[in-house]
Symmetry: C2
Subunit: 71 residues, 2 copies
């Protein structure tokens, strides 16, 4: 599975807000280890974990119908 775009979004948002991993872990209630694991591309977080991280940065997890990509 490739979660690169979601990972990138989390990192980009965090950096935009000038929040460190330690701060985000603290704010979100997610362990620092799990956050590091996820941001470094090694993770498969639960929806709860992802929601906590997103929520702490004013984002939310959504489902969207895929736009057909014309190749």
């Amino acid at each position: 599975m490739h979660f690169e775009s979601i990972i990138k979004q989390i990192k980009a948002r965090r950096e935009d807000l000038q929040v460190t991993q330690v701060m985000l872990a603290d704010l979100s209630g997610v362990s620092l280890r799990a956050l590091k694991q996820f941001e470094s591309g090694k993770g498969n977080p639960t929806l709860e974990t992802l929601s906590k991280l997103a929520g702490a940065m004013g984002m939310e997890v959504r489902l969207q119908v895929k736009i057909p990509q014309v190749k």
Copy 2:
């Protein structure tokens, strides 16, 4: 955590497509048990599981900056 809206979206999409849980489990490669668990509101799926379910129905998991709700 309350994932009601995501659960509703999955169920609604599945019903729109006239796909049963058995069919979706099969198509997505997610176990029937995990799908039932999630749709019945008892689950906390991993991002991989949620992505598989969404993907099989032409949807994708996305993060979105929350729109401030005026109460």
